[in-house]
Symmetry: C2
Subunit: 393 residues, 2 copies
Amino acid sequence: MDLSLNDASPADLDVPSRQDLAGLVVELGVEQPLQLDCGARLGPFKMAYRTYGQLNADRSNAILVCHALTGDQHPADPPHTDRAGWWERMVGSGQVLDTDRYFVICANVLGGCMGSEGPKEINPETGVPWGLDFPVITIADMVRAQTLLLDHLGIEKLFCVIGGSMGAMQALQFAVSYPERTFASVPIAGAARHSAQNIGFHEVGRQAIMADPDWCDGAYLSYGTKPRRGLAVARMAAHITYLSEEALHRKFGRRLQDRKSVTYGFDADFQVESYLRHQGSAFVDRFDANSYLYITRAMDYFDLAAEHGGLLARAFKDTPVRYCVISFTSDWLFPTPESRQIVHGLNAAAADVSFCEIETDKGHDAFLLDEPEFFAVLNGFLEGCASLKGLKV
Amino acid sequence: MDLSLNDASPADLDVPSRQDLAGLVVELGVEQPLQLDCGARLGPFKMAYRTYGQLNADRSNAILVCHALTGDQHPADPPHTDRAGWWERMVGSGQVLDTDRYFVICANVLGGCMGSEGPKEINPETGVPWGLDFPVITIADMVRAQTLLLDHLGIEKLFCVIGGSMGAMQALQFAVSYPERTFASVPIAGAARHSAQNIGFHEVGRQAIMADPDWCDGAYLSYGTKPRRGLAVARMAAHITYLSEEALHRKFGRRLQDRKSVTYGFDADFQVESYLRHQGSAFVDRFDANSYLYITRAMDYFDLAAEHGGLLARAFKDTPVRYCVISFTSDWLFPTPESRQIVHGLNAAAADVSFCEIETDKGHDAFLLDEPEFFAVLNGFLEGCASLKGLKV
């Protein structure tokens, strides 16, 4: 696979000059600031993004990949690392999102910490990091920002918008807010609104961060510190929800960590403890605590039906978009009934929708893993859409 | 219902003098210290307990009630409070654990913070609170301490040992370690070993506590402080696991807390956030953070099969005890398959076992709630046992 950050950028695109770990970074909302749901206006603001493959002549082969809570703009080939991208098996030459055929775009979400405008970036008005002065954003705001990026790239209409978890929320919101701007939408392991239980888990994470004195009321970057312990606890709690009980049992069971018997103490006697501690501390090195607050909040606020008088079907009224909704049997964070609600709403609007529940014991994280049936379903849907659309590559 | 702390204590029992919020407190292990699984010996040590009803002439009507992680020795009529006891609907005159008929005993577990010996009590050797010098205890240790209390009360054999959640672990361990000392055992919403997922959730709680600088490496009582924020986060995370998604949805859904629209901020916009914050802060006022570490650890270590060469059936070999195993459909902390494993182990040992899964959407906490089918099953089992045993009251 090509290791350059961008396989190719069409020559007529005004690609910005700065190219670093973030991939490509573009300044958007320069002439017209972005109107946010909270009432604030943001602009100019940065969007860090990545593209794979070639945009075809009629600009009809673009797929927008939307990342999850802690994802980034590098689903494949992240720069300067041996780590695989978070969708390395999905995006690439000959893969389901075939970069020989499609022009794949992925942007770090607004509010994120991988180069797009978010609480860790410098607030141009004050010259210090935004911190809690950054406006609270919503999934709809993230999607608005993505449309500005598409404008910048000269893409009027996507072939498909796709994502898992929070990416599914964006895939839904994009298709609902801009039905004329995508041919298809694939929300995977998602929901039309964030459940009470999930808001609860997010609130636990936020309280863990805000309880850490090193959070400094959100201004930790100005004090040269970060709420490491709080953010690690937040990640540990969240990580459990990404797996299934079966997956945890198979992976760790009650096996001990580098010892023959329990120590009768509070060290990580069990492998599962050691694993979670590692997940927590590794996360702190790559993620910004305030971004975690902002992005979880955006997910909490997500409620497609509420935006449409409480009736989900209204959100999909007269939609021309073809939907493929996918869930996983052992996902208890975004369980199948949540996906079924999306499908019911689409059916009630007489929309074109395929639905598939994939049998797996890997929990919510299954959307990131090598699940052959999942890949097959997705491949079939995309092939069908390409054929319908007469997509030429 | 009688509001005195003890309905009646048989006149010939040597009831200790101190009687306060803890109920009755007895000093045990005076002549012979308690041998703990970790190798340490503890004694003398305090046990705070409570009794309800009258011990009959042949001392055959005693029921030992075992409390859960954050429970106490007051299942009914807690002193000096308007709050109901944690099993107020179960224990009392005319109720399932009928105090007109049975002599009900409940003790605060070893390692607890309601008057029994635990990390917040004074270490007699140093004159300051035990803190982390308190030995790490196990479920088997808790049960050993309870048998000393029974010795003290002059009760050779229980009619029944019963408990939910961690109480179920004790009910199992008691019947396995001392099969000659109980006629029946009722483990409710329990497991024969703590799962990887549950160890994971416990570790999140412990890390939240230990991340709080006010924890002071466990010596917070000596500094006149306590890890309020860390313990509150631990409780919030745990509380979610006690409920079902359905219960949270029914109770709170996405309803807002005293506001008409979201605030685009990090206040408790949603009722579920406000509820969890309240659960966290109220818990801090009644529970000791180090006790939380010790008791969760005891649960993590619980693995009945491991004590018997990895074969659960061996734990039950030749047992004369009659078991009634109960689970709840929506309990995902101790789901029905965990109870089924207990039943399989008992069946493999040709033991006498009844099993019932109660249909409810209230999650793990159902064992504390008013569930008529649950009460009916339990009542039927106890009636059957009383009849078999020819119990006279």
